[in-house]
Amino acid sequence: MFLIIKRLWHVNWAEQWQYRANLIMYLLYWLVSPIIYLAVWTSIANVKGEVNGFTANDFITYYMLLLVVDQITSNIVIHTFGYKIQDGSLSGELIKPIHPMLTNALVNNVAFKMLTIMGLVPIWIILFFLYKPDFSSASLAGILLAIPAMLLAFFIGYLLSAAITALAFWTTRVYSIHEFYFALILLFSGQFVPLTLMPQVIQDIAQYLPFQLLIYYPIQLILGRLSIEQIIHGYVMSFVWLGIALLFFNWVWRNGVKRYSAVGA
């Protein structure tokens, strides 16, 4: 198994490396909205002194960590896999003795991530000198706590996206469903603004959804903003959602593949 993964890694790394111009474009594209929100909120905080307890520096540290956390926990499985079901190129992968989504596509995602993070580092350093954030509230303990949380979040996010992608076995409009899912992330993950500035209803719902685990929870861990109870609550939610995501993905995949072989080949 290790050998297979190693081989898959070589292939996918080479493939991603070949499209590095594409990757840089993607990276720029994905950087824009956090930087816009950063500008909007710091300009408000600068005028008013603070926004509900958030100073300009709080917003800067929040969005700068968001850039990293989002890059680690997000995935592009919809873009790299969705078309394979529709155009039938999945057939070749299905006859191999390894799971196409849980091996090849996963390794492909990690290779993509490695490259974009390499691209992110210099940009992040430039932003650091432009904004001079004060990261004194971040601690080593917080970072150590956040690493497993981000890994869990990546797998939760990956499995949910993979399940949505696998809905392509039934419908051709999987991109529309994905857009709806993306809107939920925007609303409940803390991508637009730290969740405590959202309306109370949204905060209450977000508590029980997996989306805040992708962005808001790891950032709060790093910044040391959570009580022991909140940290435990986050980890419990992570494991619960990992279980749910696994079950959901498995169910969609199994039934989907049955449909695919019945219709496609």
């Binding site: 824009v32 909205s33 930087i35 909007v40 300009s43 008013k48 409009r173 809107a183 925007l186 959202m198």
Partner: protein
């Protein structure tokens, strides 16, 4: 007259395409409504924490959102689908047929594909602008409205010219599929007034990818904040950029030799 006939023919073909995928069209309109809801919600979240953003109130921000959606819709309905078609035509050589037509090739490349259902989005954008201005309580004179419309058009022409230059570069680089991604990415910055951005970002969205020229500046004209000299400057810039774009386009066409040869 000839041009108008062509445009209406393009329009008819594209309406038929939209009708062929009716369910898809309905889903897209619903998704579009969802994003409008999100945009208004995000504005209300911002303004529940502050009264002004970069010196502008909520009414002005709603009007700005309207202008942004106006420009953005033109991009989504016209520019992106045609870019995709253009990139493909360079790769497979079907650009040959476009050049052979007895019509301006730049015109053909721009208008042959239209996402027709987006028209209702333009109506929505105009409603947002009217409601926003009303909420802001600005007193607008007919001359201000006129300059607003004029500057919105010049801003759109400037962005259009930039787009033409970006896709014309494909004639030199052949494989240049990402030609407009950067344009698409920075478009989003037009949602908010440029006054909130740090100087370096303001420079980018005003001079390099001039989205601010098509969004913030027309609204400034509407609020009577622009001097007549500035208005003429923007008009001159738009004419100049269109002229440069058509020169680059023609130079590119000369480079084009078909995909097979």
């Amino acid at each position: 007259m000839h041009t108008l006939k062509l445009l209406s023919a393009f329009f008819k073909v594209n309406v038929q395409m939209a009708l062929a995928y009716r369910a898809d069209t309905v889903v897209n309109i619903l998704l579009n409504l969802m994003w409008l809801g999100w945009e208004l919600l995000s504005l209300s979240i911002i303004f529940s924490n502050t009264e002004t953003l970069g010196g502008w109130g909520i009414g002005e921000l709603i009007a700005l959102l309207g202008v942004f959606r106006l420009v953005n819709t033109l991009m989504i309905a016209l520019v992106w689908p045609n870019t995709e078609k253009f990139n493909q035509s360079i790769r497979d050589g079907s650009m040959d047929y476009t050049i052979l037509q007895p019509v301006n090739s730049m015109f053909l490349v721009t208008f042959s594909r239209i996402t027709v259902w987006r028209i209702w989005d333009l109506v929505l954008a105009v409603i947002l602008i009217v409601v926003g201005i009303h909420m802001a309580g600005d007193v607008t004179s007919p001359i201000q409205i006129l300059t607003f419309v004029l500057l919105a058009i010049t801003g759109t022409i400037i962005i259009y010219s930039l787009w033409i230059v970006l896709i014309a570069l494909t004639f030199w680089f052949t494989k240049f599929d990402n030609n407009v991604t950067i344009l698409q990415a920075l478009m989003d910055a037009g949602r908010y007034p440029v006054t909130v951005y740090p100087v370096w970002l303001r420079v980018i969205v005003t001079f390099i990818i001039p989205i601010a020229v098509a969004t913030t500046i027309p609204l400034q004209a509407l609020r009577g904040e622009l001097l007549s000299g500035q208005v003429f400057m923007y008009i001159a810039i738009s004419i100049a950029s269109f002229w440069v774009a058509s020169i680059v386009w023609k130079a590119g066409l000369k480079r084009y030799s078909g995909a097979s040869s």
